[in-house]
């Protein structure tokens, strides 16, 4: 069980949060203009990296805010957290 530094509340136990899958997948603005394949790419295709991954998390039992987490899935070490809409850290 790890500790997540919520950008709004600070450090809290993992049990207060829920993971929401890969980050930075933007819902298409005009879904009706997409082909089945293009829509399927948005809908189904997700990376599952062993290593540094950009993820969405929500502080369910806290401020209920969504935010992004950079986590190394091989050892659960969190490299960075940042708010929705902010640019991901580059290094």
């Amino acid at each position: 069980m790890f500790v997540i530094n919520c950008p709004y509340c600070g450090e809290r136990e993992q049990s207060e949060f829920k993971a929401g899958g890969e980050a930075h997948i933007v819902r298409p603005k005009q879904p009706t203009e997409l082909s089945d394949d293009q829509w399927a790419e948005y809908l189904f295709m997700r990376k599952n990296i062993k290593g540094v991954q950009f993820e969405r998390w929500v502080h369910t039992h806290g401020c209920r805010k969504w935010f992004n987490v950079v986590r190394d899935t091989s050892n659960d070490l969190i490299k960075a957290v940042y708010k929705m809409g902010e640019k991901p850290p580059t290094k």
Binding site: M1, V26, T32, D36, L43, R64, M84
Partner: protein, 1001 residues
């Protein structure tokens, strides 16, 4: 005829406090401070159990939690009986009753002992190879294996004891209160860190505290006296908490650790009442210092498992700490200096030592000299090649080791003994470190794995870090602490340390015998009866990975996780396979370090607290009405209200009929309620529901269907427009939390530009639904100020009103197809609202109905229940609800998916009604639906999702999903059951009142 093997008094044992206890039915005595093991040894008893596979007699081997053999069953009482308790850990108390675990019918006569003679045909993997075939025989084998293996008995009644969980946050956690842990605790606490020190034992000071030899001195004091003063000092430090009898079970990432604190297991039974027995500590530490010490290694030689063979360090502890001699004719067998510490302790206490056998040939240290000075024979360069004695060792044979240590030479010498203390050097206890994700490195010089890469803010110090000698500990530990705690100075600079310990060691993983290995029994894992022979066999059969060898031979798979023998297993594998130890890796140590009771894991979450549940504000009324409840999510919902011993069926039939004939009343408080406000609220609803919302007038209600982005139905419910920018949304009972979560997700991540605020108000309102032809008359009495005429208050509309001074929201909406009202009041008025409705409805036989009747009534109308008639593969089109999907809206969640090539397939499963040929035959929910029974394999077209006997239609009705069902109206299908086939006809899912006349009746 028990002996007394107590020697000189020990200050750790209170001889004025005598305790009687029973072991295998016989009464024994011990003193306060004794463990079960030390008290039994004091009575001369070594044989305490049988081994798992061969049922060989086994004795107490250690003096700690690493014990593989002395595993006992505690208590006879069926509710408190506990298996897998280590006799070396349990402190005796008045009334203790324990029995051997691994024996049947008794420890002295053991039927499974026959396996010992059969052992040539019981090699590694025997169980895999033999009992797996033929599969049908397994049941027969299992009976005997289980019975004779004696894995311990579980209690047959609920545990009466109290357990609890506790969270602890600290700056520094120190695991282990040996000399290193004590130094760390004092250093951390004195430098302002909020510190917690835990140790599994009942006392502090580890093995140093009973070390009484002049050969080990700190600042000219015997090490134990020096340490005692340190301990007395740390007990006074304010920001240091000390917990003994507390064993760390698991070390997870981010310095999250679980520990079990034992509070009452050592108390006399009479003093335990109403006290918490064990506590699970959930510790989050900023920094962790592991000072877990090290475990002495056994030596692997032929017949190294007889009762009377103990670790040398255990023999020392029994003598020094408990004042118990493990034997009257003691021999020590070693490959390093540790056994001489034991020898000196025994000698000081006047305990007889026959000889010391040392693998090393050319050795010289002060410790050895002292032993030889006292005329104790030391055989240098020798090894034990065999032992004898069935229930207790009585003789050993020794021979000289060849130069390379692979063979024995010369003639055999026999030595009589009743106790053999063995020492193969020390293994750092790195179990918790590796659990935390730490990586080890192999140190060739003394063949040990030590911590290398730390995954979190932690450090290992002392002998668990490979610093075994007093000199190393006192020079390295303070250095390590300064760096780790970021401090300049400790109290432990410039200590004068005298230690006579010589570090030389002759490491031979498998000691040779004069017999060929096939004729020997060198045990590596005592608990699981795995021998060096088995490991070699596994390698011959092609196993290479240490994890595979472990599973095949079961080495290290007992409750002790092979704490003693794992290193030898690795060593033998590496020697046999010709690979390097460091490259082989180790097996994975998994939590818990020592077994935990279920009670500790569960804590207070038992009985009604096992899973928390929610009650509506009207719950008491349902209890009074003798409702049966069903669990819906976390809610307890009234299921049906049986009267005068009615069956569930009869109750539901009565309730259903009453609701349609006159009036029914339902507690609908559990439905999810989300308050939606903001200038973009309408636009928001347009995007999350399939239908259009912009034109919904204030004061009107609308049913909405919510999809996932994949086009599948996710939730449904009625949403009411309370004001220009204000809606109240209802969700299904089970979906309330996830719907809110999903809406928040879209608002925060996809549409942050929308001005919308969501608030869950599910718990804030109580909701009473009154339905049936007389519902209007009833609610008019309850709310006399409101005009209930159809003109003022038509179906699908809403009124803000008051009952006296109580504000309420009334919706005229219906899930039953009847004329129906839902009244919402502030939650704490729920009960009185219910009572008022019941009072007003008396003359109309108002009938409370539960969820089962609600389901039946809606099924008569063909209304779906999300999660019952849908299963995350159903689109609104599949549900034949095309009418609710807006064609005009540009976008909403899931829209694009509704015309993916897969979702437009004609042969998808679609929701249909089903009528049985025999109107009295009620289908089983979940039953398969087929068309052709003759073509094999039979094609499964779908299944029944809802099925009831309708008292209002006087026939059986059902809903189901059928492949291509939309175009099968009137077609005959078959429901194949175990003993019959039921013929059904596909029908319109709306069975009752297709014209919706009853809504305005």
């Amino acid at each position: 005829m028990t002996k007394n093997l107590r020697v000189k008094t020990s200050k750790f044992i209170d001889e004025t406090y005598k305790i009687s206890f029973k072991f295998n039915g016989t009464t024994y005595y011990g003193y306060k401070g004794d463990t079960l093991a030390s008290a039994l040894l004091a009575s001369g008893l070594h044989l305490v159990g049988r081994s798992f596979k061969y049922h060989r007699p086994r004795g107490i081997m250690t003096a700690g939690s690493e014990e593989p053999n002395a595993i006992v069953q505690l208590h006879k009482n069926t509710s408190r009986t506990e298996p897998n308790v280590r006799a070396t850990e349990i402190e005796i108390y008045e009334g203790l009753e324990a029995s051997s675990q691994n024996c049947w019918p008794s420890v002295n006569f053991d039927i499974g002992g026959i396996n010992n003679f059969l052992s040539p045909i019981l090699p590694a993997g025997f169980y895999y190879k033999t009992f797996m075939w033929p599969a049908s025989f397994w049941e027969k084998y299992e009976y005997f294996i289980r019975k004779s293996a004696g894995l311990g008995k579980s209690p047959t009644e609920p545990d009466p004891d109290i357990y609890e969980h506790k969270y602890i946050h600290c700056d520094v956690l120190i695991i282990g209160a040996g000399i290193s842990g004590i130094i760390a605790a004092k250093t951390a606490a004195k430098n302002g860190y909020k510190t917690l020190l835990v140790d599994e034992k009942p006392y502090l000071g580890g093995s140093t505290i009973y070390q009484n030899s002049d050969h080990f001195k700190i600042n000219n004091q015997i090490s134990s006296s020096w340490l005692e003063k340190e301990i007395n000092e740390i007990k006074k430090i304010e920001n240091l908490k000390i917990k003994t009898r507390t064993s760390v079970a698991a070390y997870h990432g981010y310095n999250f650790l679980l520990a079990r604190e034992n509070l009452t297991d050592h108390l006399p039974l009479g003093q335990r009442k109403d006290k918490t027995r064990q506590r699970l500590l959930k510790i989050r530490a900023k920094k962790v210092i592991s000072a877990t010490g090290s475990l002495e290694r056994p030596l692997i030689f032929n017949n190294n498992d007889r009762p009377g063979i103990l670790l040398s360090s255990a023999v020392e502890k029994y003598a020094n700490f408990y004042g118990v001699a493990c034997g009257e004719k003691n021999v020590l067998f070693t490959n390093n200096d540790s056994a001489y510490e034991t020898a000196i302790s025994l000698y000081q206490k006047g305990i007889n030592i026959e000889a010391v056998i040392d693998n090393r040939e050319e050795i010289d240290s002060k410790l050895i000299k002292e032993i030889e000075k006292n005329n104790i024979k030391v055989y240098k360069g020798y090894t034990v090649v065999d032992t004898s004695g069935y229930k207790r060792i009585n003789k050993i044979s020794i021979m000289q080791l060849s130069k390379d240590g692979q063979k024995v030479t010369g003639s055999k010498i026999s030595i009589n003994c009743d106790c053999l203390g063995i020492s193969g050097g020390w293994t750092p206890a790195v179990h918790l470190f590796t659990q935390s994700g730490g990586k080890l490195k192999f140190r060739d010089e003394d063949q040990v794995f030590i911590p290398n890469i730390y995954p979190s803010d932690q450090i290992s110090i002392g002998s668990c870090n490979g610093d075994f000698t007093l000199n190393e500990i006192l020079s390295n530990v303070p250095k390590n602490l300064k760096e780790f705690l970021n401090i300049k100075k400790t109290d432990y600079e410039n200590l004068e340390v005298n230690s006579s310990f010589n570090k030389s060691k002759r490491n031979i993983w498998l000691l040779p015998s004069d017999k060929i290995i096939g004729k020997t029994k060198p045990f590596v894992d005592y608990q699981n009866d795995a021998t060096a022979k088995d490991i070699k066999l596994a390698l011959r059969e092609g196993f290479r990975s240490i994890e595979h060898v472990k599973r095949y031979t079961t080495t290290g798979m007992g409750t002790d996780q092979g704490k003693l023998g794992n290193m030898h297993a690795l060593g033998i594998i590496s020697e046999t396979a010709g690979s390097k130890m460091g490259e082989l890796g180790t097996t994975t140590f998994r939590p818990p370090y020592t077994p935990l009771t279920f009670g500790t894991i569960v804590g207070r979450n038992v009985g009604e607290y096992f899973d928390i549940f929610r009650k509506t504000p009207i719950h008491e009324c349902h209890l009074k009405n003798k409702a049966e409840f069903e669990n819906v999510g976390q809610w307890k919902r009234a299921w049906y209200y049986p009267q005068n011993g009615e069956s569930m069926h009869d109750a539901v039939q009565r309730e259903s009929k009453a609701a349609r004939d006159s009036a029914g009343i339902l507690d609908a408080s559990t439905l999810g309620k989300i308050d939606i406000q903001g200038t973009d609220a309408s636009e928001f609803l347009n995007r999350v529901y399939t239908n259009a919302w912009s034109k919904l007038a204030i004061g009107k209600c609308r049913y909405g269907l919510m999809l996932n982005e994949d086009g599948m139905v996710y939730d449904d419910g009625v949403t009411t427009r309370l004001g220009e920018n204000h809606y109240i949304m209802t969700t299904t009972t089970g979906g309330a939390a996830t719907v809110l979560g999903k809406l928040e997700d879209y608002l925060q991540t996809e549409w942050p530009e929308l001005d919308v605020y969501l608030t869950s108000v599910t718990d804030h309102y109580a909701t009473v639904s009154v339905c049936g032809p007389n519902s209007k008359k009833i609610v008019s009495q309850v709310i006399p100020d409101l005009d209930f005429s159809d003109e003022n208050f038509p179906h699908m509309s809403f009124k803000n009103t008051k009952i006296g001074k109580i504000k309420c929201r009334v919706m005229r909406i219906s899930f039953t197809g009847e004329h129906s009202y839902e009244i919402n009041v502030q939650a704490n008025y729920g009960k009185s609202l219910w009572e008022k409705c019941m009072e007003a409805g008396k003359q109309f036989n108002i009938t409370p109905y539960g969820t089962e009747t609600m389901h039946l009534l809606r099924a008569e109308k063909g209304f779906i229940i999300v999660g019952q008639d849908t299963d995350a593969t159903m689109t609104p089109i599949d549900l034949q609800m095309d009418w609710i999907v807006s064609k005009k809206k540009y976008d909403f969640i899931g829209k694009r998916s509704l015309y993916r090539s897969d979702t437009i397939r004609e042969d998808r499963k679609q929701l249909v009604g089903l009528l049985t040929e025999n109107p009295d035959e009620v289908l089983e929910e979940g039953a398969q639906i087929v068309a052709d029974m003759n073509k094999l394999p039979i094609e499964m077209l779908g299944h029944v999702t809802s099925s009831y006997y309708s008292p209002n239609l006087k026939k059986s009705i059902a809903l189901g999903v059928v492949r291509g069902g939309k175009n099968m109206m009137g077609q005959k299908l078959i429901i194949p059951m175990e003993d019959k086939q039921i013929n059904v006809t596909v029908a319109d899912p709306v069975f009752l009142d297709k014209e919706n006349k009853r809504l305005n009746a």
